[in-house]
Every structure is written in C-alpha cells, then in structure tokens.
Symmetry: C2
Subunit: 461 residues, 2 copies
C-alpha cells in the first residue's frame, strides 16, 4: 500500500475529472468455488484498489464530486467472526490508512445511492465483470440485473483510464518487482525442464517460484508443448525429446502489480535446426518491435511491423511468398501470428480490460479493427511515457486454420501451402517481455531472462 496522500491525490483528480454526481467504486467480494464458503484466493478490484488502497473484501467507496465528501462502506467483525479470523482492523482504522474519515456499515450504502438517484443526481459506476457485482448494482440502483451493464458511466471510465494509463514512479517500482519475480519463474522453468516431465511439473516449478515470493499467478499459466493453441491450459502431456515448450506466466505481487512473460524453449538441450530457424524469426520480430517503442509511436503500426518481420522471415523458410507489404495489408501474416502484439499491464495483467478496449487501447479517432488478427490487438493507439506494456509476437502453426484457409484458397498468392503442410506438427513460439515507455524510448522491466538461441541453450545445458 502507498502513503495515504497517494490515494487522496488520485481521488481528488478523479473527482475533478468526473466533475458532477457520485462516484461509486465496489471492492470485490470473495468468490466461491464449489460451495459458498470455499473461496478462491481473493483478488481485489483494481480500480477500487487504485483509489482506495484496501485489499479487504466487501467494501465499497463513494466520492461525491459535488460536496467533495469521501466515504467507505463496510462492516466490522463480531466476536463470533473474530474467533475465526482473529483481530482485524476496524473499518475506521482501515479508512484512516487511505486518508478517509467517514465510514458506515455496508447496508447504509443503498440508502445513500437511492437518495442520490431520487435527488436526480448521477451515480457513476463501472461495468461489472462478475455476476455478484451485477446483482449488487441492481439492488443499489433499482435497475433490472440485465440493465446494469448499459448503465455504466463512460465519463467515469475515461477519467479512470486517464490516470491508470500513466504509471507513476512508485507504481513502476512495484511493477519492476512483480516482473522480476516473473523473470525468476521463467528462469527456473528453463533450468529445470527435462524430457519425461509432465507439463504440470514445470507448472509446479513456475508456481512455486511465485509463491516463494508470497505472490500469486497474475493469470492462469500456459505451460504447453502445444504452443500453437493460444490459450491452452491443459498440462497433462509428458514432455518428449524434440518438443518445444511454451511457458506464458506471470506473478501478481503482494502489491497487486503484475508481470507477464513468455519464453519458448526446447525440451532437449538444443533447438533442432527447424526450431532454431523459426525461433530466430520470432526473436527478430520481437527485437524489431522493441526498437520502435517510444512516445508518439502507434502500437498498431509496431504490431504490423512485427507481422511484416515474421512474414518476410518465413520466405527464407519457404512458407511465404510475394510482396510483404501487400501480404500484411491483406492479412496473410495472420496465418502465423493470429494474436495482438501486446497489451497494457498494471494491477491487471491486461490492465483495465474490464473498462473496455475502446477506452484503454484505442481512441475516438482510432477504432479497433474487426479483421481477423487485428481484432485480437488490445492496444492500437499511440504510446505515451508512463505506459507499461507487453511485447509478445509469435509464430503459431495451427493445423485447423491451415486446413480451413487452404480449402478456401485464401492467401494462395502469399502462402506456400504445400511447404506449410510439412510444418503442421511444429507447434508455436512466443517471446514476451514487459516495458515501460520513457521520455526517450522504453525500458525493459525485471531481470533479463535468456532470449537468444545461444543464451537459451546455455541455460538448458
């Protein structure tokens, strides 16, 4: 947690930007697994945490933009609860830690919200991403559950994105630590993976490294020999000589800040020549993209540059052909890189994804494309100093996509389908690191994880 001044300043700025009405930020509740009292590990709502700092469940915060009043709503423990949870700070004490004087029981929140609505005032709230938020907002605002989402405040979203988009020095320090834990997770996996292991045993090493720092995983890790399956959470395969292993994982540190990295390495000590050839192309795309990172550069253009680098590189392998500019303009590179180049990162691994890509990754002038490939690019707009982003190009050989597009004769002038058939069992490669945009360019976060073919092979030896 930062000093209370940090949260006070953030709230003052938010109040000024939203300017009228009441801002309502719901903290998260516990999330049940298979019965009500068996909870997943608690994850606080990031916007609530950003402005109110607290990581306890079942709290909501109010900022009255007109009166300047700020309040926290939550309940103190009874003696029966203290037996189970031990002494906990009171709401009053928690509130003081983040610079707030007024607190009330959670049940009083509905009164305040409904009085405000009755008085014709606007109650600004964020779009829900959990069903329980939808029900709470429905009860608080007397709207049908199905109507809650459309009532979310665009003004509030924009004001929050404005602040959270630009990471402060103290935030970058915390991000640096989270990414450094993430780097250690990847180094451990690269050092200890051996043929015969199950994917989940590598997963155990990765998770253990996070946990040894008191951290959680910032998202469900991907540890797979089938890296071409982009969101592959199956970890039951046995790793064999000749396999490539793709590891995509990150830590969410105690501070709440996240890391997100990917490495792809051979289960053997050395890449095969075929693996090395495609790995180098993915790495070239990664390095080309990194060189471009700077304020004012449109991330969409950097994404397309990575696509061009991959398309061009694959010509030498015999998988692509024709004019690279025309091919990428037509989308032919999406046979290999179906994903976006990267995304914002902060307290959410995809930072502010719940606030909506139109506000976080795009602008009123630059809308997100609906084309295959580009529609998966979460960040398109020009970079600004203080943005924290991932850069994660990849080459994915997806048999189902090859079969489909080949049957449709799609991109025939750009893709050598006969040659590509021979690569159907190849798998996938992704290389991902995290960067903060600086005034001059960009700085990588966390310690360096082996990335060149030589460095990876040295680590595997």
């Amino acid at each position: 947690m930062f000093r209370s001044e940090t949260y006070k300043n953030r709230r003052a700025q938010l109040s000024k930007d939203v300017n009228e009405g009441i801002i309502l930020l719901l903290g998260n509740t516990e999330s049940s697994m298979n019965f009500a009292d068996n909870h997943y590990h608690f994850v606080q709502d990031s916007s609530f945490r950003y402005f109110f700092g607290l990581i306890n469940p079942d709290i909501a915060g109010i900022i009255d933009c007109d009166s300047g009043e700020e309040m926290l709503f939550g309940d103190d423990l009874t003696i029966d609860q203290i037996v189970w949870t031990g002494f906990q700070p009171t709401m009053k004490e928690l509130a003081e830690q983040v610079g707030i004087d007024k607190t009330a029981p959670f049940a009083k929140l509905a009164e305040l919200v409904q009085k405000a609505l009755a008085d014709g005032r606007t109650v600004h709230y964020l779009p829900p991403y959990r069903a329980t938020q939808r029900i709470t907002l429905s009860n608080l605002t007397n709207q049908a559950v199905s109507k809650v989402d459309e009532g979310a405040s665009v003004k509030l979203i924009k004001a929050i994105v404005k602040q959270r988009n630009i990471k402060t020095t103290e935030e970058i320090e915390e991000l640096e630590k989270a990414v450094d834990i993430t780097a250690q997770m990847h180094i451990a996996a690269m050092q200890h993976t051996r043929p015969g292991m199950k994917e989940y045993e590598v997963g155990a090493i990765v998770q253990n490294t996070a946990k040894m720092h008191g951290a959680e995983l910032s998202f469900p890790m991907i540890i797979t020999k089938d890296g071409q399956t982009l969101h592959n959470h199956y970890q039951g395969n046995t790793l064999k000589s000749g396999d490539l292993l793709l590891c995509d994982s990150g830590a969410q540190a105690v501070s709440g800040y996240c890391g997100d990295m990917t490495r792809t390495f051979p289960v053997d000590k050395k890449f095969t020549s075929r693996q090395a050839e495609l790995y180098q192309i993915a790495l070239d795309a990664h390095e080309a993209a990194i060189k471009e990172l700077a304020p004012g550069k449109r991330f969409k253009d950097i994404h397309l540059l990575a696509g061009k680098t991959i398309f061009e590189g694959l010509k030498a392998v015999g998988l692509t052909k024709g004019d690279t500019e025309s091919a990428v303009a037509a989308g032919a590179h999406t046979m290999f890189m179906q994903t976006g180049l990267g995304h914002m990162m902060g307290m959410d691994v995809h930072d502010m994804e719940n606030l909506g890509e139109p506000y976080v990754g795009y602008t009123d002038e630059l809308k997100k494309s609906t084309e295959f490939g580009l529609k998966s690019l979460r960040l398109g707009k020009a970079l600004e100093a203080g943005n924290v982003i991932t850069v994660e190009p990849g080459i994915y050989i997806i048999p189902q996509l090859i079969d489909l597009w080949k049957s449709e004769k799609k991109y025939e002038e750009f893709i050598n389908y006969d040659e590509l058939e021979k690569y159907k069992d190849f798998g996938g490669i992704r290389i991902e690191e995290d960067f903060v945009i600086t005034d001059e360019g960009a700085k990588m976060l966390g310690r360096q994880v082996p990335k060149t073919i030589a460095d990876v092979e040295n680590t595997r030896a």
Copy 2:
C-alpha cells in the same frame, strides 16, 4: 472419469428418487478474477460432475423423471475459438462419454424449462452458491433473482445426498489417492520448515507437492503460526524458534476428489514441554474419537467425547477444573475447542455443503444445535458405512474469547482464568485425518503422516 455406466446408474437412481418433474443440474461457468476473461482455475459443480461426469464449463444437464429423457445443453466451438483453445470434443462426443444421446445448444435450455413450467411441471434445481447461477436460474425460470434461492428443490437435495453420502468402491479408490497426495503435502512441510522461513514459503512447499501430482488445493490452505485463528489465510509472518506451525491443507486430485488434513508441529526440532503437554491432549482426543468411528455411532456424541477428553486433559495442566460431564454439557470445553470435530468429505472438501447441513449432517429428528461450539459442527448424525469424514479436534487459545468470557464471568466454575492468562500467547493445535466408515469401524485414508510427538520430532530432526 468413471465408465459411462456409473453415471447412467446414478441418474437412473436419482430419477427414481425424485420421481416426477424435471431435474436441472447446472455445471459451473468460469469464474472471473479482475476482468471477465481472467479466470480462476475452473472448479466444476460437484453434483453436476457426480451425475454427468464432465469437467467442461458452460454445460447443463436435464433428467426428465416422467419420460426418462436425459439431455446435455452446451455449445460447440467456432473456428475462431479453436484458434485459441485447440480442437475440443463436440458436445455430442462429450455426451457419449457419459452415456447420453441427446444434446442441444445452451440457448435451447430456456425453451425446455419454460415449456415445462408452462405445462405446470416441477423443475427441480439446487440452491445456488455463485451469483452467476442465481442469474442463470432467474432467467431460466422467470423468477426474480432474490426469489431463486427459496425455490430450490428439497426433494432433489435429499435424493442427491442419499447417493453422495455413501461413497462407492471406485469413489473410495479416488479419495484414497487424493488423501495420499494430501499426506505427502504435509510430510513435505514437516520435513522442510525451518526457523527464519516465511509462512508462505512453507505454503509454497505444500502447494508445489499438490501441483507435482497435477492436483489443485481443495481449499485455501492455512499455514500459520497463529493456529488459534481458525480461518487464518495470512502467510506473511516469519517463523521463529519457539513457534508452533499449524498446517491445514488438502489436494483436489484430477479426479475431483479431495483430501483435507492438518498437522501442527514446532518450528524447532523439538516441542517445548508446554507445547508437548497440550499437543498430547489434542492427540488423545483425536485417538479417542477415531476409536469410536463405526456405523450407527452418532458423530455428535463423538464430537462431545473429544471435548471431554480435552477438558479432562487440561485439568492436569491447571487450565480447567470441576466435573467434566457437567462442564461439557454446559459448553465450557468450547473455550478451547470452538470448532466441530469433522465433516463429510468427497468431491467437495466439505462434501455437499452447498446442499445444506440440515440434509447432509443432520436429520429431521436430529437438528443442528445453535449453541456456540455445536453450531460449528457440520456433521451430527449417526455414521453409515461408506461415509467419508474428517476427524479434527483442536485446542485453540483465543485471547479475545478469554477476555470476553472472563469479563462475563462465564464458566468460572470450570475454567482457571488466572492460569489461562499465562497461555494467551500459546496459539493453536489441530490434528486432522480422513476416514471411510466401514462395516466394522473405520479405515484411515492415505499414508500415515507423523502424528505422535516422537514421530513428529524424528521427522523434524
């Protein structure tokens, strides 16, 4: 997954027991952390899994008790989804694995349910424990969200409890494996804990051992030097010489079945004499309870026997006094053992807790007590062969409870408050193992984890 016959037989029995109307079992959906697409690890609803076997999200099953028809509702993947998830079996293929011929898209479920309701038929569903189930049931049955809970079918609950209460041989085999992983988690913690470690580093060892078997934690682990705080999930303390460490954790194996064990051991290689004295009393209560396990024995009586053993044992230490029978009848032992002796265990670590304790742990004749202590006993009724349960007595020295009851002069005739004051920094002890009730008595599940003082100290050495 068991053979399809297993699920067919279970459904046939359920249909027979419910006898009329339509049974609707909702599988779980993914659960979002801090934005919609960032999911916690998926946990299937246990009743859905028990009768329909599948571990995929977003599926629902129907059993028509009148026509005998069975159906699964869920959606096949589009090519866009296959790019992200890889090939997955179709709904048709999944259904065949569990002996079902008819499938339909999820959207068709509402039609079927609403036609049944319009025809005046009963639609039996289970009480929701996630907000998303509440919204889905509200939409399916045209009830207000706030009315959904009270519409749950007691007939369905009772019919499900009747089956799930008695574990079959194939279930016990899976439980044995899950508890054995759990045992290994505890042995690893006992072997590797050292002064100077953080609690979360022990947690990392425990979780790593589960993950190395492809298992998840069956509940949020408790790894704490403050064992008197019963649901203590804080793991930020540094372990010091002289501390006692309480580890309560369990695995949920790939099969879905759970383990749940607790060990308490010194951070040093040896117990202090004070620790050993109280540990032996907790162990005596544990052993006394285990000896009683047999069909026909009321678990509430065994719980009270454990309370008596603890109360009696603490007399020699000078913490209690007076007639043990009268003290336990009055509830004086709950100064030390505020919790229940144990609970059912199966695919839920507190098996069927979502179905309600009145049906799972009690009967129409034996209702749960509302007294402090007994109100935390989830299981009171007579044991039956095939029940799988935990036995977990404990001694917890809770300063806040001592202060409160002392100020109220509560149990003055049974508790030596002056002596107890000296133990306020003691902490807590719990010893927990898992048992299946057999025709003759009971059998412990999983390998033996060191439990006697000598065995624990040998493992710590």
